[in-house]
């Protein structure tokens, strides 16, 4: 057993007792990265030299623990590029609030970032200017996305724990594909200050970890009200670890019928149903529920998310930072020319597609028919959940309709790619928290994820149920062979 195999809570104990040092953990990680990174490509801009890290002197709950950070979360003085050419060389002059919080908790921030779909646009981490990340369980498969790098590095033991961001499933779907624990917190639970925005009303930063306890540990460290983010909520952060009792007796679990539909992968269906049986054997009571507006989630999501994205990405024009195209012939005074070349060359194909979609739906004459209507349906989707949570403690679903697909399989078919988020995006639209935990493997050895959803700000419930299931099944003990 190497140090890199351990979880954060295991390492933290050893560091606190003086048995090992944080540097030894870093050395161990470095060794692992050197050995498997060429196959996985979970990190970007990784240097030949030893991975460096920003040490923290603090002795908090994450003392000495290295944390890997997705490339869209600002780290002061360290490149943060959203895996896009247009942000080439961008070094933020400030830390995201989650980074400051991690440092305060004693964590060590790795100087190399994790791979992602450009600006978090995608479900496979193929849309990165640094090339695709490979799924550690099957290198020919995608790790999911957009936080594919964060999921893959945790899965391959190239990281102890990682942060990702989730706008429509970008933490949970790759967590499912890579067999790790991924949590999307309630909207407003974690500050977005320093997260380079994709869709401001949907984005949340969250943990990707090897087990549920680490998830609880990491979420607690990054949560809480931030005066710098007006959408963060001033509510006390519970001690999530105290909910890891394993006791789920009497909890009511809703199983939405709209999530078990024809066309979903039969193996995934069987595995998830088995997981529900397992939970019931631990004492939960499951019942069928209905979320009738689920069918609108994908179109509503792609209107709202692309509209906000088209606005948020407007600032990338080559003026102040990042990439600037220099037209071969200098055309005097042609500012628009510079903007057009910069954006034309700086953005990848999927980014352009989403900017165009969003620009269209916000345009004069289309706003009411698309954006405004989407906002209304979004409210209906949220009301579906409110209704179910009036009666049930949580909802359990598959995280994704299929296991990891092959690299290249869907990259030419954006619609089928968008559908791989079908079980995750309603959660973002409703602003509620959800966790994905490993619940088994397909015959081909690909992990399958179980998604648990709860009421706003009831992440404790997610941890309670997830931990009980995890301890009863120990899927996390299985590691990919690299």
């Amino acid at each position: 057993m190497e140090l890199y195999n351990l979880t954060a809570h295991e390492l933290n104990q050893k560091i606190k007792s003086g048995e090992i040092t944080s540097d030894e953990v870093i050395d161990s990680l470095d060794k692992r990265i050197k050995s498997v990174e060429p196959k996985v490509n979970a990190y970007v801009r990784i240097s030949e030299a030893k991975i460096s890290a920003l040490n923290s002197a603090s002795k908090g709950t994450l003392e000495g623990i290295p944390v890997s950070i997705k490339d869209n979360i600002c780290t002061q003085g360290t490149n943060t590029e959203c895996c896009s050419k247009i942000l080439e060389g961008f070094k933020p002059p400030y830390d995201a609030t989650v980074i400051s919080k991690l440092k305060k908790a004693g964590a060590v921030i790795l100087n190399t970032k994790t791979n992602m779909d450009e600006f978090a646009f995608g479900s496979s981490t193929e849309n990165s200017c640094y090339g695709p990340t490979h799924n550690p369980w099957n290198l020919e498969c995608v790790p999911g996305g957009s936080s594919g790098g964060s999921a893959a590095c945790v899965s391959s033991d190239e990281a102890i724990m990682a942060l990702g961001s989730d706008t429509g499933g970008s933490i949970r779907q790759p967590a499912a594909f890579c067999g790790v624990v991924g949590l999307k917190p309630t909207y407003g639970r974690v500050s977005r200050f320093g997260l380079i925005a994709f869709a401001s009303s949907l984005d949340q930063i969250g943990p990707l970890t090897k087990d549920v306890r680490d998830s609880a540990l990491l979420l607690r460290a990054i949560s809480g009200y931030d005066p710098k983010d007006s959408t963060s909520v001033d509510l006390e952060v519970p001690d999530y670890e105290s909910y890891l009792s394993g006791d789920v007796k009497g909890l009511k679990i809703g199983i939405p019928q709209e999530y078990f539909i024809e066309g979903m992968d039969q193996e995934v269906r069987d595995i998830v149903e088995e997981a529900i049986n397992k939970l019931n054997s631990l004492g939960t009571i499951s019942g069928k529920v209905s979320l009738p507006n689920t069918k609108y989630a994908v179109p509503v999501y792609y209107i709202i998310a692309t509209a906000e994205a088209s606005s948020n990405l407007g600032r990338f024009d080559g003026d102040q930072y990042g990439f600037r195209a220099r037209p071969k012939e200098k055309i005097k005074g042609s500012l628009i020319d510079m903007y057009e070349h910069t954006r034309g060359q700086g953005f990848g194909q999927e980014a352009k597609r989403r900017i165009l979609l969003g620009t269209f739906s916000l345009s004069h004459g289309y706003y009411d028919a698309y954006y405004l209507r989407a906002l209304k349906v979004r409210t209906l989707i949220k009301q579906d959940f409110d209704r179910v949570f009036g009666e049930y403690d949580c909802i359990v679903t598959p995280t994704s309709p299929s296991p990891a697909f092959k690299i290249g399989e869907k990259s030419q078919d954006p619609l089928s790619m968008y559908l791989s988020d079908i079980y995750t995006i309603s959660v973002n639209l409703a602003g509620i928290p959800a966790i994905s935990i490993p619940c088994g493997f397909t015959k081909k050895g690909l992990p399958v994820g179980l998604q648990i959803l709860a009421k706003p700000f009831n992440e404790s419930m997610l941890f309670k149920v997830a931990y009980a299931y995890e301890q009863a099944t120990k899927w996390y003990a299985q590691k990919p062979k690299l």
Binding site: I73, C74, T80, C82, L87, F90, P92, P93, Y94, A96, R192, F193, G194, L195, I196, A197, A199, S200, S201, P227, K228, D229, S230, T231, A307, E308, S310, S311, G314, R315, F316, D317, D319, Q320, Y321, L335, I336, Y339, T359, L362, S363, H364, Y367, Y371
Partner: protein, 475 residues
């Protein structure tokens, strides 16, 4: 042909908060370029706006003072356009739910009170400043994120004079509220105008042009007058008005085309997702209402009642708060029950001295005690009005007291008849022609003779006494 002028004004008022609207950068004017910036106002990736609550309070106050309905639910929206002075390439503004709307302002034009409706007053962030130098354009982002309140009228203004009166009244109210410096030169008050004309009797609005770059109230008036005239000439010649944005060229005294609107701009407004909507409770509005100071119109009514001022005088005195404060202090300290003499010296010489120096009366450095001392000399007929003006000027320049100046310059009026009699004698002997003129009925000749006596006394003779002596001697 006779036309009716239709004008709507959009006034941007920079609210004088200590920090910017969405970040904690200073709003100080005139600092080195790009020294008052941070990731938020620079629009760096990942940064988020947080509303400065004082800005909202100020906006509510202005809304109430302009008789608007303050909205119980207000939100911000993004307005998209590409320009280097706008780092995010969208401006955080307010689209369909402004802080306040549907108000009015009553302004005095000539002798009439004219009601101009206020359509809306909404908050937004200012953009930066582009400075064009030789071959390059430089960017100063200090101004980015300054809090602005945009106050938009209905097209209720029908002449450049009405526009001027509206601006004067608006500025006055905002100064009383103490929420902006309203300094057009520093850009803390900016005015754009939409102008169109139509045949008298028509109800449809004509095609409008938008006027920008008017850097003073006079500029607004001049630009509007020019543009109205230009449009009338175009129509008279059978031409059509083109919807354009025009710039006022103050040097050439004319409007020039900035851009022609080929189609309506699409700003792609949508609700700002980084800022939750704001609820303005009835309690909050009441609290703001209670903090409203006395406004110019109320003050005008009060001082008419309290001091027996004429409406005309009161209206002039209340326009500027600083002036009104100063004037009231003087009026109160003036012990006579008839306040006319003190009002006259304020509205006359004091006002004109302040205007020449482009400042307020209170900033002239003549405190009420000193002014009243000077007024005492006038009341006692001890100096002439003419000399009083000279003394006042001296007081402002030297900061000396009236008594010191009058003594040093020996300006006390001579009312001593024995001295004046002999001076009159000399003048009558030297101006036989004028004496004859007067006797043959030319009344003007008397004033000439008075002037000659004044000259002889080096301006110190009391003109009233001189006139009496002359009349007696010539009758």
């Amino acid at each position: 042909m006779n036309y009716e002028t239709v004008i709507g004004l959009e006034v941007h008022v920079q609210l004088k908060t200590k920090t910017k609207i969405f970040c904690s950068c200073s709003t100080e004017f005139g600092s080195e370029p790009n020294t008052q910036v941070c990731p938020v106002c620079l629009g760096l990736p990942g940064s988020l706006p947080v509303l400065n609550k004082t800005v909202l309070d100020y906006a509510i106050k202005v809304g109430l003072a302009l008789n608007c309905t303050v909205q119980p639910f207000t939100k911000f929206d993004r307005k998209h356009y590409y320009y280097p002075d706008l780092p995010k390439n969208y401006q955080i503004s307010q689209y369909d739910l402004p802080v306040s709307q549907d108000g009015y302002l009553d302004v005095e034009v000539g002798d009439k009170i004219k009601r101009i409706r206020i359509k809306r007053a909404h908050l937004e962030e200012d953009a930066g400043k582009l400075i064009h130098e030789n071959d390059a354009s430089l960017l100063d982002l200090n101004r980015t994120g300054m809090p602005l309140l945009e106050i938009v009228t209905e097209p209720d203004i029908h002449s450049p004079e009405e526009a001027h009166a509206y601006l004067t009244a608006l500025k006055s109210i905002i100064e009383y509220l103490d929420v902006s410096d309203c300094d057009m030169e520093k850009g803390s008050l900016r005015c754009d105008a939409n102008v169109s004309i139509r045949k008298i009797g028509e109800t449809e609005l004509g095609t409008k042009t938008e006027l920008k770059n008017m850097n003073s109230f006079k500029g607004v008036k001049d630009a509007l007058a020019y543009e109205v005239q230009r449009q009338a000439e175009v129509l008279d010649e059978g031409g059509k008005i083109i919807q354009q944005t025009m710039l006022w060229d103050v040097k050439e005294n004319k409007t020039v085309v900035m851009r022609t609107k080929e189609e309506a701009k699409d700003y792609r407004y949508f609700p700002e997702p980084d800022l939750p909507p704001f609820l303005i409770t009835k309690e909050k509005i009441q609290e703001m209402r209670e903090t409203l100071p006395e406004l110019p119109q109320q003050r005008c009514k009060r001082i008419i009642q309290e001091y027996g001022l004429s409406e005309h005088d009161a209206n002039i005195l209340v326009i500027s708060k600083a002036d009104a404060d100063y004037a009231e202090e003087c009026i109160r300290a003036y012990k006579n029950s008839d306040k006319k003499p003190v009002v006259n010296i304020l509205i006359g010489p004091m006002f004109s001295e302040a205007n020449t120096r482009n400042t307020s009366m209170s900033a002239l450095g003549v405190n009420s005690d000193n002014l009243l001392e000077l007024l005492g000399y006038i009341d006692r007929d001890e100096i002439s009005n003419l000399n009083a003006k000279v003394v006042l000027k001296d007081m402002i320049e030297t900061k000396n007291k009236a008594s010191e100046i009058i003594k040093a310059k020996n300006l006390i009026q001579i009312s001593d008849t024995s001295f004046l009699d002999s001076a009159v004698d000399e003048v009558l002997q030297a101006n036989v022609k004028s004496v004859e003129d007067f006797r043959s009925g030319k009344a003007n000749a008397l004033m000439f003779l008075v002037g000659q006596v004044m000259k002889k006394s080096a301006g110190k003779a009391n003109p009233k006494v001189v006139q009496e002596i002359l009349k007696r001697r010539l009758s």
